[in-house]
Amino acid sequence: MSERRIDEPTGVETTEHEWDGIRELDNPLPRWWLWTWYVTIAVAIVYWVLMPAWPGLHGYTKGILHQSDRVKLVRELADLKALRGAEGAQLQTASLEEIERDPKLQAYAMAAGQALFGDNCATCHGQGGTGGKGYPNLRDDVWLWGGSLEQIQHTITYGVRTGEPGAATTQMPAFGRDQMLKDAQIDDLTEYVVALSRRPANPAAVARATQLYADQCAACHGPQGLGDQTRGVPNLTDSEWLYGSTREAIRDQIVNGRGGVMPTWGKRFDPQTIKALTVYIHANAGGQ
């Protein structure tokens, strides 16, 4: 090793490294830095002992704490289940009316129902449950399939037009698309439906369509157009129009006879989950 050389202006030893006449001073590392470094080494060694650290050929070192994020997650999920336990278990046995009447069960069902609704129902029915074209509004007092607790529970459990056993199968014919009626007849029927909802309509067209309505529509919608909740047939006399209230929209519906599909949630949710959802929807609709 070469002789130590001293940088004259500072009086500090140099490292003998020189670049273009600039020599590097061999100042010592700051003490705090050095000690911090030693501490990190000590911490690392302690960490290796306590925590999973080194990969091996067959797995890895587990550490004496046996820390594992996967095991922790499983435990947390079990804890969550236990936490929900008391009220969740009560939902199984209590009737829908009992759940809605009891403040504690109601609060639990509303909280659970809100989360479930947001995750599963809001996509179609909207976050606030007000629906949209083709998707029923769940907040008002118009119910296609019935607005009582049991009816809502039934609709959620079995769904609509999914082909599953128990699901509603009723379907409005596509009078225009399937050429069951002529265009002029459909125009007359449109006027008739407008008249049913107590709006001004062409009297001649209404008169022409009266027999047509009795033959083609009254079987489902009823002679007065009041609909039938047991089969999900809409009431044609109210102000609620699932596919729009204008003449064009009504005509379009007679032509195409659309009917929405709602999943059979009973296949995905356990009964108490559906109960919570039912109470949430029923309560927020003002409850029929």
Partner: protein
């Protein structure tokens, strides 16, 4: 400016320098007294006897007793609530103080209490100087206790100084070890008692030893143990001098009429040694014995006048009184006195004391005002509380018959320990019908029950007949139990008319 280094010429030799590292230079600087920090000069306060010392012992016992006994006082509360008289229940979100129970929303009472404490401190300081520092501050109380322990193991001032200077021996070792063991015991007792204020004491003391207590309990116990041991054992007066802001603030509170520990220079000067039998004519009463200096836990000489370090504890007054008794002069050469009185006597005028002055009146007025407000707030606070959240999605729902329904969530707080049945009234739109899930719709008031010591969120739907309102109508919800009531303003939204 360009520095030209001419290496062709002979270089000036650094005068016999060996290589010096930066660390060595810093060390050298520190030993020369040029470091950033002043090294602590150890203080060995001498034990004194007297009036102020007795008061300090009494207050030490009282304050420590309060600290250690309070969490163990039981207080009956119904319905499975904590039975501890004083408890800060973070998990349950409550503060219990005997018959008073505060919710997190009422934290302003704690703020008010702190403001009151500050005002009281201002007033006491303006009248009597830093009595808090000298007698009641935890730093003073625990340091006093630690010095008591130190004295028990190592003896009084002179013995302690000798012991520190002596080489290590078995005697020194066991005295030091014993002192630190007791110190750590006290520190652990302090840290341990702290956590009793935040959990049910009998439960947490059992859980603590079997590893079942909350992590925060162990952390805070360790933290308070460490700070007690370090602050009271080692840092002592440095906490007051360097860490505490109060010595700086007090300058704004004190004036020449504030009582504080004062060396009455008008009587003491000119000071000097005095032999028995010598005359006291033509000289002061101070015999320069330094009894006041060696008694001082802050390590100052009170004869230099009022100082930032002085905590106003009166131990120098006790020390001086003992000496005055021995030399046959009247007591009170060092006493609680005012600068104005000393100055007046020095000029041969009678001393005037003015406890009532604008400053003390302001402080007393502010203290009375804040105390009054807090007391009024505490006695008039409502036991029920109401917040109304209006549904935003949907803002309103139009019914088949054209009536409009708005949804609200009422958060009703019942601050009593008993279940309450409350009536909910809605004012604002004529003909409104109220409905809550699980109950039939009603034209009049609704009835809801709220559990004791809880908040219940109640969904309320208000339906108004067609045309009864247009746009947004101001409305008010009122909940009442017949005596207490709470109101909350809201809006009934019916949208634009179709």
């Amino acid at each position: 400016m360009t520095v030209i280094i001419d290496r062709t010429k002979a270089q000036p030799q650094p005068s016999g320098h060996e290589p010096v590292s930066a660390a060595a230079r810093v060390r050298a600087k520190a030993t020369q007294g040029g470091g950033l920090y002043q090294a602590r000069v150890p203080i060995y306060p001498k034990l004194v006897h007297g009036r102020w010392r007795a008061i300090k012992w009494a207050l030490l016992v009282v304050t420590l007793t309060i600290y250690w006994v309070t969490p163990w006082i039981r207080w009956h509360r119904p319905g499975g609530l904590p039975q501890q008289a004083v408890l800060v229940d973070f998990a349950g979100g409550r503060f219990y103080f005997f018959g008073i129970q505060l919710w997190p929303q009422e934290v302003y009472f704690i703020t008010g209490l702190l403001v009151m404490a500050a005002m009281a401190l201002f007033l006491v300081s303006a009248l009597f100087g830093r009595l808090w520092c000298g007698y009641a501050c935890p730093q003073t109380v625990w340091t006093d206790l630690y010095i008591y322990v130190e004295r028990a193991f190592e003896g009084d001032r002179n013995a302690r100084m000798r012991l520190d200077a002596a080489p290590w021996s078995f005697d020194k070792a066991w005295r030091k070890a014993g002192k630190h063991a007791v110190w750590l015991g006290i520190a652990f007792g302090t840290g341990g008692a702290w956590i009793f204020y935040f959990h049910d004491a009998p439960t947490v003391i059992r859980g603590f030893w079997v590893g079942q207590a909350a992590l925060t309990a162990y952390v805070f116990c360790a933290l308070l143990t460490a700070t007690t041991y370090i602050f009271a054992g080692f840092m002592r007066e440095q906490v007051c001098i360097y860490m505490c802001p109060w010595p700086r603030i007090q300058g704004a509170m004190l004036d020449q009429h504030s009582l504080q520990i004062t060396y009455r220079r008008d009587r003491g000067e000119a000071r000097g040694p005095h032999k028995k039998g010598e005359t006291w004519e033509g000289r002061g009463d101070c015999i320069d014995c330094n009894a006041c200096v060696v008694a001082c836990p802050m390590g100052i000489d009170i004869r230099d006048g009022a100082q930032l370090e002085c905590i106003n504890c009166g131990l120098c007054a006790d020390a001086c009184d003992e000496i005055m008794d021995k030399v046959g002069r009247p007591r009170g050469l060092i006493a609680y006195d005012t600068d104005a009185a000393v100055a007046a006597r020095a000029c041969g005028k009678p001393a005037v004391y003015k406890p009532v002055r604008p400053r003390t009146l302001y402080y007393a007025g502010a203290l009375a005002l804040v105390s009054g407000l807090m007391l009024w707030g505490l006695t008039h606070r409502s036991v029920i509380d109401l917040h109304v959240l209006r549904d935003r999605n949907p803002m309103f729902v139009r019914m088949q018959d054209g009536s409009v329904r708005d949804g609200y969530t009422l958060k009703i707080a019942n601050r009593t320990f008993y279940a309450k049945t409350l009536t909910v009234r809605f004012d604002g739109v004529a003909g409104a019908r109220l409905k809550t899930p699980g109950a039939p719709p009603q034209a009049g008031d609704l009835t809801v029950s709220v559990e004791p010591n809880a908040i219940r969120a109640v969904r309320i739907f208000v339906t108004v007949p067609p045309g009864a309102s247009a746009g947004a109508t101001p409305a008010i919800f009122t909940v009442s139990d017949g005596h207490a009531q709470a109101r909350a303003k809201t809006v009934f939204d019916s949208g634009a008319q179709p």
